[in-house]
Symmetry: C2
Subunit: 417 residues, 2 copies
């Protein structure tokens, strides 16, 4: 039934409920066969049960997709850049399950290319699925895979890497790759969307095209490219170690904290500032992360017993303390004991904005005496990732110095003074 209809075709479907005109969307592994997903002109997707279809008329064949496929088959010609697009899951690579209405991470990189055929304008797109995970399920093991794959792509001639990723933990992953990749010969651009592509307000297309623009720029850093405002004016280019998701749903949810974005991008161009440029040579990769690190958000009722639980068997602890970097003074001796026993403890602030300064108040000074490392103006999340990386890659006596040294734009050293 409807065997002559292909993904990308523009069709008119008549059912008892109404007549719909739109483009046939790709099938997903979890889609029921008996459903056709149609992207309407208003941007919405709908699922139409095949058994409800009274008539189906093909209005046009999917040309853009055809052109893209042809380009892909030809391979990169002279002077055409190669861009590698990895998908890891998330809203940008998700579809709505029409049985339940919930969003699943299932679109492949190929589907992404299909949905946004204009990507082919930036160069020869190579697509690869790394995972199909909602980003709350992405952790240190996935950071390792992403780092290795990004290095491999850049070292095999890609001009840049795009990493389509769920927005929930995109900041953590971008920070991870910032520490894992050295001597970047091109940008690694994380991109996501806050609204699934079923919604007319979806930010997926503009974010993806802006990310592609950044991927072929002179940049040599790990960045996040996401909407800068609620309109479609431009995207911000955020440094991977400074970016944080600051809203659950807005399209402009991402913000650079304690630092300006390092650029603006649209599908038509990008402007960079205070950025690091592509290096010559090969990308080096140090992809391991110690998993036995805890991020502790201090709170007024935190008991010694609970802190003891949290410290048991871990190698590193990052505290999101209060204010300038404080915690309950009765707990400081326990922290001091943990440091003596070899646990590395770093202090950051749950205020997020500003910098830790443990020299101002008596409790801060006690923390310094206990051997707690000041995290400066690093985000708690970035300090957590940095410590996880340090524990897996450095001689341990070098860690305190490393944590207060700027490596990938994650802190401003002078703020320590």
């Amino acid at each position: 039934m409807h065997k002559d209809v292909q993904t990308g075709d523009i069709v008119e479907i008549r059912t008892e409920k109404g007549t719909y005109k739109g483009t046939i969307m790709p099938k997903h592994e979890f889609s029921r066969d008996e459903i056709i997903i149609l992207k309407l002109d208003n941007g919405y997707n709908i699922g139409v049960s095949v058994k409800d279809i009274l008539s189906l008329k093909v209005l046009g064949k999917g040309e853009k997709a055809g052109i893209r496929r042809e380009k892909m088959e030809k391979g990169a010609g002279e002077g055409i850049k190669k861009i590698t697009l990895f998908s890891t899951g998330g809203t940008i690579a998700s579809y709505v399950d029409y049985r339940t209405g919930a969003v699943h991470p299932a679109i492949s990189s190929e589907d992404l290319l299909f949905s946004v055929p204009e990507l082919a304008d930036f160069g020869d797109m190579e697509a690869k699925v790394l995972f199909s995970l909602l980003s709350e399920d992405i952790g240190p093991k996935n950071w390792k895979t992403m780092a290795m794959e990004a290095a491999k792509a850049l070292n095999s001639g890609s001009a840049g890497v795009i990493m389509a990723h769920g927005t929930d933990t995109m900041g953590y992953s971008a920070a991870a790759l910032s520490f894992a990749l050295k001597n970047l010969t091109g940008p690694v651009v994380f991109v996501g969307s806050q609204r699934s592509s079923d919604r007319p307000s979806s930010d997926a297309t503009m974010n993806l095209l802006s990310a592609a623009r950044v991927a072929v720029s002179e940049l040599g850093e790990v960045v996040v490219v996401m909407h800068a405002g609620t309109g479609d004016d431009y995207c911000h280019v955020h440094r991977g170690t400074r970016v944080r998701k600051m809203h659950t749903s807005r399209r402009d949810a991402f913000a650079s904290i304690n630092s300006e974005p390092i650029g603006k991008a649209t599908p038509d161009g990008c402007e960079l500032r205070n950025h690091r440029k592509r290096r010559e040579g090969k990308v080096e990769v140090f992809p391991d992360f110690e998993e036995s690190v805890t991020l502790l958000y201090s709170y007024p009722g935190l008991s010694g017993e609970m802190l003891e639980h949290m410290l048991s068997g871990i190698k590193g602890l990052v505290i999101a303390g209060t204010g300038l970097g404080h915690m309950k003074s009765e707990l400081i001796p326990m922290i001091g004991e943990a440091v003596k026993n070899g646990t590395f403890v770093v202090m950051t602030s749950q205020c997020l904005y500003g910098t830790v300064d443990m020299n101002v108040y008596s409790s801060g000074r006690e923390l310094i005496k206990a051997g707690v490392i000041a995290g400066g103006d690093m985000l708690p999340e970035t300090a957590y990732v940095k410590l996880s990386w340090a524990l897996a890659n450095l001689e341990h006596e070098k860690i305190p110095e490393f944590m207060v040294t700027e490596i990938a734009g994650e802190l401003e050293e002078r703020r320590f003074l």
Copy 2:
């Protein structure tokens, strides 16, 4: 030596290092006797060792303080409002230890009145020291004392209560009193300062006077009054359940999250909007908080083992999840077990801005099935305080409904839809 010199006197002190003119500041319990603390005209305090003093000339006696003392002794006359000023410690009630340069919480409410004699213009000030704690050391037991004392003051004829408090955990304490006090017959105004009064840029005076202005207003809520900008234009009046310290050091560090401030205040006037007014009758107080509640900031490497540690023996867990309210899906069954065993689990978002919505993605739906309560647009800190209060004051079967019901402006119920 210098026995004729009193606190508040304006003096000129000559030493080998130079000549200083200023006002003698109060002595603190930890001050060395041999040091005189002088507030200079430029706003800075300096400590001068008595043995270094070559000569001391009294230029004027401390009149403002004398006027205040006289007023205090007379008691509240007809039509004069009584305001109760509690001090709990923090920068607003702190002094610099000139031996170490560190800031200690030690100024009493009396000293605060002395430093800002204009407070007497608002009414008859009654001052009481509750604690001398840096606010990182203020917890549920202190919330109880503050709630009981605030209720007692209002029920004994105070028009309003000012609670001078360290800024680090002021948001937590303000949320706590918001739930503990019912039928407020007057405002409970938390106030602090980001810069100690030794610094010319101190915000202490304006914050305190603006707080006094709010304390005699028609308001019947627990609020935080702090600088609104980096200038001295006005303060914001933040609802106690919506306010968060968003910068480690700026004077305008406090922000209302997911809600507008409910007013502006200066020493000369205050403008309120969408606020609740003073009630008739008596304030009721429910001051207990369950301490066995954990605030967990979820992070990518969170292991089942660590979560098990964190869940052991607790009655409540507030998760600051990622995005719309997510956490690693492999941990959801463990959360479900904890809920079955009687632990109440509430989901909030580490994005801070926006609202939890666990109906959008599959992992959110799994959390709902596991019995996790959606925290809506509540701050993680406020949800933590609310759950601690609920566990100590309500029949437990009523807690899930209570957590999603707006009690003190802490959430917007319609956002749940």
